[in-house]
């Protein structure tokens, strides 16, 4: 049995505790999860839309599949932007010099959220350029 004072020296005394809960633990990959969601809904939505042969939409002089996919894409871009904004606001909480593991995770989250929004924007651009079902 190891006594607590034996390992007390190994503990950082200026660290904030960052409890690894389900939400807290997965927050760093939330942006990329949104990218996965965009991928699934765009690919799946394209398959369903083309199979259901959705009728041409009068709106914006485009077909309804493109319209639906653009909407799904836009929702994901907005979601990713919200995540990025939230992580940007917390980027120095706790401050870098005393952040420890919690600060590392906050900055990792910011990096991944930035990458995620760029990836979501990138995969959606062809929706605006290509016909959906050919």
């Amino acid at each position: 049995m190891t006594h607590r004072h034996d390992i007390a020296a190994s503990r950082g005394n200026n660290e904030r505790r960052f409890r690894f809960r389900f939400g807290g633990g997965l927050r760093p990959v939330a942006g990329l999860a949104l990218w996965v969601s965009a991928f699934v809904f765009l690919y799946g939505g394209l398959s369903v839309g083309c199979r259901a042969a959705l009728s041409p939409a009068p709106l914006l002089n485009t077909d309804s599949v493109t319209l639906w996919l653009s909407g799904v894409w836009l929702l994901h871009v907005i979601g990713a932007a919200a995540l990025l904004y939230a992580s940007w606001r917390r980027r120095d909480d706790p401050p870098r010099h005393e952040g420890g593991a919690a600060g590392f995770l906050e900055r990792l989250t910011l990096s991944l959220d930035g990458i995620a929004i760029a990836a979501i924007v990138a995969i959606g651009v062809p929706i605006l350029l290509l016909p959906p079902c050919s």
């Binding site: 049995m1 190891t2 006594h3 607590r4 004072h5 034996d6 390992i7 020296a9 190994s10 503990r11 950082g12 660290e15 505790r17 960052f18 409890r19 690894f20 633990g25 760093p28 990959v29 990329l32 999860a33 990218w35 996965v36 991928f39 765009l42 690919y43 799946g44 394209l46 398959s47 369903v48 083309c50 199979r51 259901a52 420890g100 593991a101 919690a102 590392f104 995770l105 900055r107 990792l108 990096s111 991944l112 990458i115 990836a119 990138a122 995969i123 651009v125 062809p126 929706i127 290509l130 016909p131 959906p132 079902c133 050919s134």
Partner: protein, 843 residues
Amino acid sequence: MSSPLSTADAQRSASPIARHRALESLWRDPTGWGGFAAVNHSTIGRRFMLTALVFFLVGGVLAMLIRAQLATSGAGFLDSETYNQIFTMHGTLMMFLFAIPMLEGFAMYLLPKMLGARDLAYPRLGAYAYWCYLCGGLILLGGMALGLAPSSGWFMYTPLSGAQYSPGVNADIWLIGITFAEISAICAGVELITSILTLRAPGMRLDRMPLFAWYVLVTAGMILIGFPPLILGSILLELERAFGLPFFEVTRGGDPLLWQHLFWMFGHPEVYIIFLPAAGMVSTMIPTFARHPMVGYRWIVASIVLLAVASFGLWVHHMFTVGIPHLAQSFFSIASMLVAIPTGVQFFAWIATLWMGKPVWRLPMLYLAGFLFVFVAGGLTGVMLALVPFNWQVHDTHFVVAHMHYVLTGGLLFPLFAAVYYWMPHMTGRMPSERLGTWSFWLIFGGFNVAFLPMHLTGLLGMPRRVFAYPEGLGWDAINMVSSIGSFVMAMGVALFILDVFVHARIGRLASRNPWGAGTLEWAMPTPAPSYNFAALPPVDDRDPLWRTPGLGGDLAGGHGALATWTPGVRETLAVDIVNGEPTHVVRLPGPSYMPFAAAMATAVFFLCVLFKLYMGAMAGAAIALALFIVWAWRTGADDRTRITPEQSDTLLPHTHVSGTPGVWGVGLALTANGTLFAALLFGYGFLWLIAPNWPPAAFIAVSPAWFAGAAAAAVLAWFGAKRALRAEQRGRIATREQGVLLCGAGGLALAGCMGAILIGAPPARAHAYAATTSVLVGYIILHAAVGLVFSAVSWRRGRSTQHVVLTGTDLRLSLIWWRYVAVTALIVVAVVAGLPYVEPLR
């Protein structure tokens, strides 16, 4: 009579030699026949590596046969069926039985040492994983020895691998052997994730973890998500081949493209599952030889995570020619190009580390330089293949073969050989030969490029893959001859490498304690490493602890660190807070046991009986395996009978006395893999409904809605009962606890009954893919309800047992996790099966 080291004070003041002897007797594995009971991570890791090496050598011999056959035009010396078996087995051995198990072996051996722990979280599960891997591999090798090897390619595309075109047992051998080996990989994945997150040295925060641990953590997560689609595909194909349930057969509503989707959902992440641990080795070795900490630690972690997630969005780039809409192809094309960015970030970080440091040129660096060159070349052709029009031109040609080998040899073989040289002193206590190592490098590097660089050209000239012969006069002859010569030169290099390692492991120069001057913890121990790793667990306050405290190894051997005392007969290591690395409790690990070997043999009986269609035998094997697992679970934690005493309030408690134990992690992670399999099954259901040509079926399910409502209510009841039982146990209300368990059992039985009624009411499973997939979905829930009932019964009985003092409700917590999963999946199945006839008009 008490031992001289029976008290904590005596243990603290013991000499390093006395401490070593005591800990060695506690942690070492038995020898002789007792080796079948070995569970120590060093032993299991070494077994994985050596077995993978054997499979690598067999795969290498097959590669030589392939190149000998293709060296000249004409029919060569192999007939088409033998050639098909050889290239199928070459790919299968290298991808499934060499690459991943070898890296798992490295991870199992190294991680506890790098993380400052004494073992992995589930020693018996690791041993079980090894025996499963060995059995799966032997099934495949046995099939090959008998001339019954699979011959449909390592990707087993349907309909070629279906019963009509592959009528023998060959394809079944692949499906059974690979599924067996993949169970092993998933067990290893669960073990590695739990160990990395929870079993580390005190003070090792997430941001102080060695990069290799980050790489393996992410890879193990990818295994849990990437492998189940192939396991599902294998089960469905075996059901089609053995029982005639149509999933891939077009005439009865199936679609062969479903197999391609399921295979490549696994197959593409597999490439990164192979590359990432190897890249982790590179990220460990480069700072050592650069004499500089790794540059861009956070960006490397971000790159690993991005690479892992993005790798699941690439699978369709293997299917660009099957008729998918252009827009869908563009999604996958962009994602395929996207993965070049995180890979590039890692490359720049490695180069920057070398640039910032003062590199020393030692033998492993030669192989790392080879890796940098070869993998970049493979990555560039990968970006070319991500472009849809180019992909159409070279699809199924030797250009793809060349690309794949540049990626896999560059991304795995060169880092792996560097790693073998780097950690050889750690495992054997002896140094390799710089001269032999240099010779073998140039033979491998030169031979590889002579073999595979020209293959790009044969591919561009139109030479298809998987042909056993080709006519002369097409301009392929000379290039193929050069390729074959190069491959034999490479084989000589590999032979020299193996000779060097095995000879110098015995007679090489003795290694000093930290011969390369590394900063990571695995070098803070004597070499070869003792079975207990550390006499005391090291306090960590830096990413490179040995650079900060060069004398750390001596301090630990002298007992200056955590867990410096021990309880005779009890194997202990520290568990820490996942993020902050603060010690939370002591994990007591099981010692040598024949149970993993026996359970693996029972599992092998199940698989072999399925292979030979002896279904009664298969049921017996499954029943024996289940019984052994129950005994295994029953004994876990049963010896921790002590209640917490006031004197213990100032101590770290054993894991049986706290929540969040390894068991909870294990069940949660196993269900993650299971959930991926379920999601892949739902994908298959949706795919067939939307895409397969011969839909709708002649008849939909005709069952009273009451059965669906009953199933949904029963699922919720079982969940509620499990929750009530756990709450009651935590509050010490034994009677309420019993009621909760009974409620849960009643709900589970009712769920199985309702689902059984739905299954009976479904159209015959052989009639149409709709009926077949519906039956599999419903059968999935029945199976899980049955396992849940066993779960509940065991936890209920253990709770009543006087042998087991329930302190944290762990058993019932595990039961709750299981029933929650069953309830959610059952509700989804009810919604999907009951709802499909109503949404059919959408199609």
